[in-house]
């Protein structure tokens, strides 16, 4: 028995002079999550469309007495709605999951992913609804995905390095609802945003659509926030090992009469991160006193200690206020993001030398404006604008003379000069203006154009009271401007079975760079302006062989513009380089999505993908004119070939087994070094790169457990990462630094009470308390327990 919710929301009205009317609306699941790519068609006609990634659709029908619209999506019950001539053409359609089929969430997983792939992009779309009740971080979800590698420098709030199909670091760009997150600060990032505040994570591998306007060389991660349409207020609190507390609050309110809308999301994260670390990398220096009273410090290795200076705190409030569903706009908001974090620094790149006082702090304040309107000016033209101005301040404090050991004690010896990592009171201020404009235009039913532009203007100033000899020249602000534009043509051909997305992107940067020159012993500074541009092109296409088999292929000549730091230098040891060109990469993917229905209860899905990356002009830090100075240059070439994939087995709504694997072979192709020497590393595997990874998961969902409508789940996850060398595999034979293999098991259970308002879950991470390393000599947390309560207040 299906129930049809019909809520008139007035998402814009557009009557043409002829006898047609455009009907718009949003398709949702019962939990108010948008259902992207659901089919919408006029009954008994060939007039139809699909919902976009936000579940929104529009369809033009000719006015008859009554028009019957049909809404369908795999895993949901079909819905029919009669549109009367007098109806306000703005709809919210809620589809109910089909009961006899498999779990609702799995269906969304399948359908969303498949639909994004139908556009030809090699992408994973992870619905996170089922995870929202768990004590899980976005980073953990990402690291479970085939081809994605998340390398953490420790516990909550530690530095994270992401890679997609072997391209890492700045090659991977993050977005929130399509907005580049580069200037949001690390306090508001994939490492801190609570999973309960997003509905979906889209991961694009190698080839990135123009809507995500950035210079993503290796891929992009788009966090899609919840699409609210009903007033609500959700709260969650998670607590557990290492004094970890995470609180999240999100709410949505709308006045139905005038469209006045308010949104808020806020969170607070805290952890002592005082987990135990052990092994050969951990030592204390024991005092051995000789007959003359002189002390020799003899390291005792292999001890077990608790991290003592690693606490992390982050807090964020993000509020939007404006109107939705009014004539002038589908959405118009002014918003404010306030975010901050505080981090103790336990050690440097490895655990060998512990710190006890160094800290890092960051805050960001960002007012912004969003405007979204479909059918603006003319039918089929849509506009989506985001403009923000942010001030981001990063401060480092590292002045102590105390020397700490791994027991958290202060040694008798003092540092002659303060500073555990580097003596500093550096404060860096970055003022960034960001403007993103996205325009879409439907040329016809089967062809649409997209245009996207992202422009950023960054002003950077530095100060450090410990650097006592300042000059105006040195400390004057530096400027960095960057523009990425893209144009795409989406087409559906051969009965919509062949979909193609052809696109071109252009990249520019401008920088005002301070350079120093010394002539006859006198150093002078001048500002040099520099600009570079590059051009990229790509195609993503898919072909539906039959309803269960989809082939997709994509190619892109991708670019990454140099970062401000790479062009401008860091003001300390890295000097500027006005001649930097963008990194570029030729990326190719080929894969298929095969759905095998074993019988009415059992299904297997197989999604393998072959990939190829050929990177050139890769930036490399080399020693400059003096041995103590470094500079970025365009230099390295890397070729990556690999395969990743996922196989899933579904039984009814209850059982899901997932196995994903990825293997990559990144080979250095640079045959000369920057000086002209033969490169001894040429044609060897890139060092410090994990190349084999496997994830397994078994999950059981109970429907109506103990009580009607109550839900429960239990899962077990296993992650394996193969061991790899920190440096070249080719050189040396003894005591080579090696990151050992990882075998980590996680387990969790959860229960949602019958009223669907309250749920509670328990998670155990790293059940067997094994030593886990993402990076050389940096141990990650051992066994940890978490409990989380989710509550829908209204």
């Amino acid at each position: 028995m299906s129930i049809i919710f019909l809520v008139i929301l007035c998402i814009g009205k557009s009557m043409s002079q002829s006898k047609t009317v455009t009907i718009k609306g949003t398709v949702l699941d019962p939990n108010d999550n948008a259902i992207p790519f659901a089919t919408v068609y006029e009954n008994n006609t060939e007039n139809g469309t699909v919902t976009d990634e936000n579940g929104e659709f529009k369809i033009t029908v000719s006015i008859k007495s009554n028009v019957e619209l049909v809404f369908r999506n795999l895993g949901f019950q079909e819905k029919r709605i009669i549109i009367q001539q007098s109806s306000n053409p703005g709809l919210i359609v809620v589809l109910e999951p089909s009961l006899e089929k498999i779990n609702e969430v799995d269906i969304i997983a399948k359908s969303t992913s498949t639909k994004i792939e139908e556009k030809g992009f090699t992408a994973i779309s992870l619905p996170v609804k089922e995870l929202q009740t768990q004590s899980i971080e976005i980073n953990q979800v990402l690291s479970q995905s085939a081809g994605v590698r998340v390398r953490q420098q420790g516990g909550l709030g530690s530095r994270v390095n992401y890679s997609i199909n072997g391209l890492e670091g700045k090659a991977v760009r993050f977005f929130l609802d399509g907005i580049p997150m580069d200037y949001f600060g690390s306090s508001f990032s994939a490492a801190t945003i609570p999973i309960s505040q997003i509905s979906r994570i889209d991961i694009y591998k190698g080839v990135v659509p123009v809507e995500l306007g950035s210079d993503a060389l290796g891929g992009a991660v788009n966090l899609v926030s919840k699409k609210d349409v009903k007033n609500n207020l959700d709260f969650s609190y998670s607590f557990g090992s290492f004094n970890t507390h995470k609180v999240s609050l999100s709410g949505f309110w709308r006045n139905k009469n005038n469209g006045l809308t308010g949104k808020i999301s806020a969170f607070y994260n805290y952890s002592d991160n005082n987990y135990k670390v052990w092994g050969n990398d951990i030592k204390v220096d024991e005092k051995v006193v000789n007959e003359d009273g002189f002390v020799t410090y003899v390291p005792k290795r292999g001890i077990t200690v608790e991290r003592f200076h690693d606490a992390f705190e982050s807090k964020t409030v993000k509020a939007d206020f404006g109107f939705t569903g009014i004539d002038q706009a589908d959405q118009v908001f002014i918003g404010l993001l306030l975010s901050g974090m505080d981090k103790e620094i336990q050690h440097g790149a490895t655990m060998f030398v512990p710190f006890g006082e160094a800290t890092y702090e960051q805050s960001v304040i960002m007012p912004y404006l969003t405007y979204k309107k479909n059918n603006i000016l003319t039918e089929g033209l849509s506009l989506n604008l985001f403009t923000s101005y942010s001030e981001l301040i990063r401060s480092r404090v590292d002045t102590t003379r105390n020397i700490y050991n791994w027991l958290g004690e202060i040694e008798d010896e003092k540092r002659v000069l303060g500073g555990e990592q580097k003596r500093t009171l550096n404060k860096l201020t970055e003022n960034a203006f960001l403007n993103r404009l996205n325009i879409g235009y439907d040329l016809s039913d089967n062809h649409s154009l997209g245009f996207n532009t992202v422009f950023t203007h960054v002003k950077r100033t530095d100060e450090d009271p410990l650097v006592t000899q300042k000059t105006d020249g040195y400390y004057a602000p530096q400027y960095f401007k960057k523009s990425v534009m893209g144009l795409s043509l989406q087409s559906k051909l051969i009965d919509q079975r062949l979909q193609t997305n052809l696109f071109a992107k252009s990249y520019y940067y401008w920088a005002d760079i301070k350079v120093s020159t010394t002539e006859a012993g006198v150093t002078s500074y001048e500002t040099v302006s520099s600009s570079k541009n590059s051009f990229g092109i790509g195609i993503a296409s898919s072909f539906e062989l039959n309803e269960n088999f989809l082939i997709s292929a994509s190619l892109e000549h991708a670019n990454r513009l140099p970062e401000a730091n790479e062009v401008l230098g860091d003001g300390l040891n890295i000097i500027s380089n006005p001649h930097l060109k963008p990194e570029s990469s030729f990326n190719a993917n080929l894969g298929f999505n095969w759905n095998i229905n074993l019988d009415s209860d059992n299904r297997i899905q197989l999604v393998p993908n072959l990939f190829y990356r050929n990177v050139s002009q890769k930036l490399k830090m080399v020693t400059a004119s003096d041995p103590g100075l470094f500079q970025f240059v365009n230099f390295d070439k890397v070729r990556i070939k690999g395969i990743d994939g996922r196989i899933q087995f579904f039984h009814k709504q209850s059982i899901r087994l997932t196995q994903s694997v990825s293997y990559l072979n990144p080979v250095i192709k640079t045959d000369k070094d920057e000086l002209g020497n033969d490169n001894g590393l040429a044609n060897t595997r890139m060092s410090n790169t994990p190349f084999y990874q496997a994830n397994s998961e078994a999950r059981y969902n109970f429907k109506s457990w103990l009580k009607n409508n109550a839900q429960a789940f239990v899962y077990w996850r296993f992650k394996y990462v193969g061991s790899f060398y920190r440096y070249s595999e080719k050189f040396g034979s003894e005591k080579k630094d090696q990151v050992p293999k990882q075998n980590v098991n996680n387990f969790g259970i959860g229960y949602t009470f019958p009223n669907q308002k309250l749920s509670i879950s328990a998670d155990v991470n790293n059940i067997f308390n094994v030593q886990a390393f993402d990076n050389y000599a940096v141990q990650k947390p051992g066994r940890a327990f978490y409990i989380k309560i989710n509550c829908k207040i209204f």
């Binding site: 003359d292 060998f352 002659v416 006592t468 150093t523 300390l572 004119s625 041995p627 590393l681 003894e734």
Partner: protein, 431 residues
């Protein structure tokens, strides 16, 4: 049980033999002609892309040594530096301050014998070190801190040296000292803040003195912030302590030439068989180590804790080249003979270019000959070996093939010896 008995026997017997031979030496061989030492085990330090490897070779004069699947990786947070003395090698992990004693094993690599945290003793994770005599490694750290007046103006700087004497092979701290390095009138540059001592290096011990080379930083121009501040020096200065007490620290000076006296990685100072200290200045023009124009690379002599003003050996002049030559250190073989990496100004920049050659120098006769080895980059070159009546050092021309070269101190001859990987496998030293 039998095994232990025989071991004990050998031990006792050996001890007795050793005791006897000591006497024998004194009695029956009062003036021994030293047998030429025949070494058949050497070590080579290779660096590639930030990773440091140490490998063994039986010969430096022939054969091939590759680090491909060969050698022990050294712990190197930022860098690893090596000292060889007696049966051991000592590796300093620049970044953690750990000093590790290594012994060659039978697989071509090295086993760890013992390690100490030498950096902690001198209050830094990044100390510098040098073998000062066969049984002492000196470990040290200098810091420069501004002294401000009430208005926050910098009026002076305090330059503090902390130094530790590490006794080897037992690897224990034998002495520890902290010393505020005085600024000479010459370095004060006429009353302004002037040039301040910012580094000591290259210590040697002769009789009851220990000598440290000094490097100064130009602090006088407040418009020049780091990292653009330049090391500068007028005159020559050396820090001298009584040894082994490490007391009575004084800075001695000479006006024969200008330059830092620390050496870079190649040592600046050597003690000859007479106990005299010969020191090269660090003179280099046209770069951030620029010194007063028209100055020169010279060898000076220190004796009894002061400069011997009567001795000066102008190496540039002795070479008879039309352009200046620059140097940062040299290697001593014996009988006044040494080998000095020299930079030829018109061949390129001092760093990252093939602008360096090698000169054979004679500090007794004040003669120097430029040897016709391939031009290479030797600014960072660290160590050579005097053994088997020859001198060996690695030469790795940028874009060319790398070899250890064998130099004959009796003549100006040299030959290509052990072939190395070449390319960007940088060999910083042989030991």
């Amino acid at each position: 049980m039998k095994k232990y008995l025989s071991l004990a026997f050998v031990f006792l017997f050996g001890f007795a033999l050793f005791s006897c031979s000591d006497d024998d030496d004194n009695d029956s061989n009062p003036n021994p002609e030293p047998e030429p030492e025949v070494r058949d085990n050497f070590s080579v330090l290779g660096v590639i892309e930030g990773a440091y490897y140490l490998a063994q070779t039986e010969s430096l004069s022939e054969g091939t040594l590759s680090f491909v699947n060969n050698g022990t990786q050294l712990e190197a947070d930022q860098a690893a530096r090596i000292i060889a003395s007696g049966d051991y090698l000592y590796s300093l992990n620049y970044g953690t301050g750990l000093l590790t004693q290594l012994k060659a094993n039978t697989n071509g690599g090295y086993d760890i014998v013992k390690e100490i945290n030498a950096g902690l003793s001198v209050g830094t994770n990044r100390p510098r070190f040098k073998l000062a005599s066969e049984d002492i490694i000196m470990v040290y750290n200098v810091t420069v801190e501004p002294i401000k007046d009430q208005d926050d103006n910098i009026i002076d700087n305090t330059c503090t040296l902390r130094l530790a004497s590490v006794s080897i092979p037992d690897l224990t701290i034998a002495n520890l000292n902290e010393f505020v390095i005085p600024q000479s009138d010459n370095a004060k540059q006429g009353g302004t803040i002037g040039y301040h001592p910012m580094r000591v290096d290259g210590p040697v011990i002769s009789e009851d003195k220990i000598y440290f080379g000094l490097m100064h930083m130009d602090m006088s121009d407040p418009t020049t912030p780091p990292p653009f501040r330049k090391p500068k020096q007028t005159g020559l200065e050396t820090l001298v302590f009584d040894y082994p007490s490490l007391t009575n620290g004084t800075v001695v000076e000479s006006s024969v030439a200008s330059g830092h006296t620390t050496g870079y990685r190649a040592p600046s100072m050597h003690v000859d068989e007479e106990g005299d200290v010969y020191q090269v200045n660090w003179f280099m023009s046209g770069n951030s180590f620029d010194l007063s124009a028209g100055d020169k690379t010279v060898i000076s002599r220190l004796r009894d804790g002061v400069y011997d003003q009567a001795y000066s050996f102008n190496v540039s002049e002795a070479l008879g080249l039309s352009t200046n030559i620059a140097s940062v250190g040299w290697f001593y073989v014996g009988n006044g003979i040494g080998y000095m990496p020299i930079q030829l100004e018109d061949e390129g920049t001092y760093y990252n270019s093939n602008s360096w050659s090698v000169a054979k120098i004679d500090v007794y006769n004040k003669t120097a000959v430029k040897l016709d080895v391939p031009l290479s980059g030797l600014f960072s070159y660290e160590n050579g070996v005097a053994a088997n009546e020859m001198f060996y050092m690695a030469i790795s021309p940028i874009g060319g093939e790398s070899y250890v070269y064998e130099f004959d101190p009796e003549s100006n001859d040299f030959t290509q010896g052990l072939k190395l990987d070449g390319g960007n496998v940088v060999v910083d030293g042989v030991y």
